[in-house]
Point group: C2
Chain length 448, copies 2
C-alpha cells in the first residue's frame, strides 16, 4: 500500500489527492492544508470581499468532510508542515500545539504562491492588506467596512478586480502601478490603455508610472507616499504580485528552476526521487517558446495536480505539456483576455512581430445587443505564425475568443490558417466576418 | 484590363467582387444580382420577419450605391442572367424588359442555394411560404400578419429559428419534422432532445417523426396533412431544406460534384477554364474526412468568394482549405452549436466513436449568472482523435466553445490534447474546470 502525502489543499493539491485516490483505491492519501478549507478558490476572493459571493466558504468546491467521507482521503486542515525528511520519508505536521509525524512513500508539494510584499517602509502597518487565502476574507471585509478611501497598489489582475469591488462597496479608489500601463505582465500598452480608460470612466483615480515608496501612519496606515506625491488613505490593498512558496520544496532538497519556482519535469517530478510538485509552486514550459515560465493559475494547477497525483500512485502515466499563456480578468463588464505572447514578451525573446488591433462586434450588425470587441492578434513577422491575442469586450464571449487562439497558436496556426478557420456563425452569436477572421485579414497586410 | 463578372450579390459574390477590385484596381468588375440588395444576409431573415430587425434592408451590409461609388464596382440589381456563352465569354443579362450582353474574361458563379420544395400536393397554394432572399421579407410578413396558426414544415435551422419568431409574433406554432428528432442533419438524438424539450416548454406543438404528405386548401392553404393526422393552419412555412442553384453553372458546362453542388478545386475553379464558383452553389472539402460535402453557410461563402475573386484577377494566389462543419442556431436564448462530425455522420463513414454528454456551467459555481451548458464531445474510439462537439446553453459563449473544438479537431487534437488545452479561466467567465476540459476527462474513460 502506497502512502501519498500532499501538502497544500488548493487546486493542485486537492486535484492530486483526488486523482491518486481514484487511480489507487488502496493508497493511503493524506491532504495537509494550512488553512481551514480545501479546494478553495483564491481567484474568487475579490467577489467574496465585495459580497457578490455571499460567504468565503462558498469559494470551496468540496468541504474537508466530503473529501474524507466520500473519497476516503485523510484531510488535515489548519495544519502546518514544519519539516520534511526525505531520507526517512517523513513530514512533521503541526496542528494546534501537537506535532504529528506522517510517513510517505510519495510526497506531492502543492504549497502554491504567496504575496510578493515590496520592501518599502510601512508594509507591516495595520490596514495594509494582502490577499492569499479565502480564509482571510472576513478579516479583509472587516478592515474595509469603515474605510472611505482605499489605495490599491499594483495594477495586475488582483488590482484590477479589487478596484471594481471597492468601487461597488462605495469606496474612493486610488490605484497605483509603477509601470506606465495596467496589467504590464500580460497586456501590451495599446490594449492596456482600453482598460485604463474604462477604469477612469468608472471613477478610479489612476496613478500609472507612479511607484509607491512608503506607506505611512501611526500604527494604522493613513498615507501612501509615491515618488510624485502623498495621498491620504484609510486602507491599502497590496496587489504587487505573488511568488512561489518554495520553502518546503527547498527543505526537501528540490531544485528551483530558472524562474525561481520549483523545477519539475513533464511528469511533475521534482529533482528529488518520489517528490512531486504541482500548481503555483512550480514553473511550467511555455508551449510556444519551449522556455520555462512561471505563470501561476488555477486551471493549470488543477491539471498539474491531476498529473502529479496520478503519477505518484501509478508511475509515469501522464505528462503535463505546459501552458500557452492564457489568462482572463475583468473590470465590471469589460472582460479582458489574453493568450500566447504579448508583443513585449515576443520582443524580449528576439521575435519580430506584426499585430492588428481591430474594433469589431459580437453579433451581426443588425442584431440588438451586440457589444464592441477590441481584438489584438499578434503574429511573427517572418513566418506569419500566430503568437498571441489580447481581446477586450463587454461580453463573456471574448474569453472564449482567446481560447480559440490558444489552441490555434499551440498548433502552429498562421495568420492565413486563422482566416480560414471554420468558426461558426449565426446573427445572434457573431458577425458573419468573425472578429478573429477580420483581425487575421487585417494582419495579413493585404494578402487575405 | 481584365473583366470580371460575378453572378450573385450575396456573401460569396459580393466578397469576390470586393476582393477582385482590391487586388486589381484596373479590373472591370461587374456584380449581377437577381434581387434588389447585395451583401444581404438571408440568415437574418427570421429576425426581420419577426421584427427584431426593423427593416429587411438592415440585413444589407453595403448598399449597391456604396459598392458602385466607393469600390468602383458596377452593380446590376434586379438582373437575371439568362444565359452564358463560354466560348464567346459572354453573359446575357435581363433587367426589366431589356437584355444586355456583358463580356467577361473571368466569370464567378455565386448563385447560392434555393429552397428544396418537397414534391407533395399543395405546395403551390397561397400561404405556403419559402425563405430565400431578404427581399421576400415584407411579403412574408404580410402573409403572417393575420395568421393565428402557422405550421413550420422542417426542423432544421430555419424551422427552429422561425418557430421562435412565430411564437414571439403571438402565433400558435405547429412544427413538423419527418425525422424523429429536430436538426437531424447536424445534431445527434441526445442533444436534439434538449432542443425539443425547450421547444415544447415554450409552447411549440412538436410533431417529430411525422411526414407531411399534403398541403390542402381552396386557393389558400388551410390544412397540413401528415401520415398521422390533419391539422388546420392559416399559413405554412416550408423549411424543408435547400439545394444548390446550379442552373447557370450547368449552362456554363461546369461539372457537378458527388454532392450535386458545383465541383470546384481549392482555387475555387470549376471544371471550365476561367469560370470560378463560390458559396452555397459549390461543394466543399471536409477537413476532418477529406470527403466532399455540401454545407451551405455564409462565413464559408465569404471566404470562398474572397479566394475566387482574388484568384480571378491574380491567378492561383489563395487556396480554400475546406470546412470542419461548424454551425450555430438558437431557439430563444438556447444557443445550439456544433462542429465536426456527429456520431451519426461518423458512423456513416465507418468510424467508431465514443462520446461524452455532460452538464456543466458557464461560470464558477459561486458566481451569479451562471448558465447550464450541455456539452457533447465526440472522439474516434481507436485513436482518441476529437471528431466533433455539440454544445447547447443559454449563453452566446457556447458558440465559441464549439469554435475551440473546430480548431482543435482540424489540427488532430486527441481527447488528451483537449484536456491539456490552455483554456482561460476567471470565476466570471468559466468554471475552473472548463466544460470542454470536463468533457474531455469524462470521454477519456478514466485515463485523465
Amino acid at each position: 500500500m502506497v502512502r501519498v502525502v500532499i501538502v497544500g489543499g488548493g487546486a493542485a493539491g486537492a486535484s492530486a489527492a483526488a486523482r491518486a485516490r481514484r487511480l489507487d483505491p488502496n493508497a493511503e492519501v493524506v491532504l495537509i492544508e494550512r488553512g481551514s478549507m480545501i479546494t478553495h478558490a483564491p481567484c474568487g476572493m475579490p467577489y467574496a470581499i465585495g459580497g457578490i459571493v455571499k460567504s468565503h466558504e462558498d469559494l470551496m468546491t468540496y468541504r474537508p468532510e466530503e473529501f474524507e467521507k466520500e473519497r476516503n482521503i485523510r484531510v488535515l486542515t489548519r495544519a502546518a508542515v514544519l519539516d520534511v525528511d526525505v531520507d526517512k520519508r517523513m513530514v512533521a505536521v503541526q496542528r494546534g500545539s501537537s506535532v504529528e509525524k506522517i510517513q510517505w512513500d510519495k510526497l506531492v508539494i502543492a504549497t502554491g504562491a504567496k504575496p510578493l510584499v515590496p520592501k518599502i517602509p510601512g508594509v507591516d502597518l495595520k490596514g495594509v492588506l494582502t490577499m492569499r487565502h479565502p480564509d482571510e476574507v472576513p478579516e479583509i471585509k472587516g478592515h474595509l467596512e469603515k474605510a472611505k478611501t482605499v489605495a490599491v497598489v499594483g495594477g495586475g489582475y488582483i488590482g484590477v478586480e479589487m478596484a471594481e469591488v471597492l468601487l461597488e462597496m462605495g469606496k474612493k479608489v486610488l490605484l497605483f502601478e509603477m509601470a506606465d500601463q495596467l496589467l504590464p505582465a500580460t497586456l501590451d500598452p495599446d490594449t492596456a490603455a482600453i482598460v485604463a480608460e474604462e477604469m477612469k470612466s468608472r471613477g478610479v483615480e489612476l496613478h500609472l508610472g507612479e511607484k509607491v515608496v512608503e506607506l505611512a501612519g501611526t500604527g494604522h496606515v493613513s498615507k501612501v507616499v509615491t515618488e510624485k506625491g502623498e495621498y491620504n488613505v484609510d486602507e491599502v490593498i497590496l496587489a504587487t504580485g505573488v511568488k512561489p512558496d518554495v520553502d518546503l520544496a527547498l527543505k526537501a532538497g528540490a531544485k528551483l528552476g530558472e524562474t525561481g519556482a520549483v523545477y519539475v519535469n513533464e511528469y511533475m517530478e521534482t529533482t528529488v526521487p518520489d517528490v512531486y510538485a504541482a500548481g503555483d509552486v512550480v514553473e511550467k514550459t511555455h508551449r510556444l517558446t519551449g522556455r520555462r515560465v512561471w505563470i501561476p493559475l488555477a486551471p493549470t494547477a488543477n491539471k498539474e495536480g491531476q498529473v502529479a497525483g496520478g503519477n505518484a500512485v501509478r508511475g509515469r502515466v501522464l505528462k503535463f505539456p505546459g501552458v500557452v499563456g492564457t489568462a482572463v480578468t475583468k473590470f465590471y463588464n469589460l472582460y479582458i483576455a489574453r493568450t500566447g505572447l504579448s508583443e513585449r514578451e515576443a520582443s524580449q525573446l528576439g521575435l519580430k512581430t506584426q499585430s492588428a488591433l481591430i474594433k469589431a462586434r459580437t453579433k451581426a450588425h443588425y442584431m440588438p445587443g451586440a457589444e464592441t470587441v477590441h481584438m489584438k492578434l499578434i503574429a511573427e513577422e517572418s513566418t506569419g505564425r500566430i503568437l498571441g491575442a489580447q481581446v477586450l469586450g463587454r461580453s463573456q464571449i471574448v474569453a472564449a475568443y482567446v481560447d480559440i487562439v490558444a489552441v490555434a497558436a499551440e498548433r502552429g496556426y498562421t495568420v492565413s490558417d486563422m482566416f480560414f478557420a471554420d468558426i461558426g456563425y449565426m446573427p445572434d452569436t457573431a458577425p458573419v466576418w468573425h472578429p478573429l477572421i477580420v483581425a487575421a485579414r487585417v494582419l495579413s497586410r493585404g494578402k487575405l
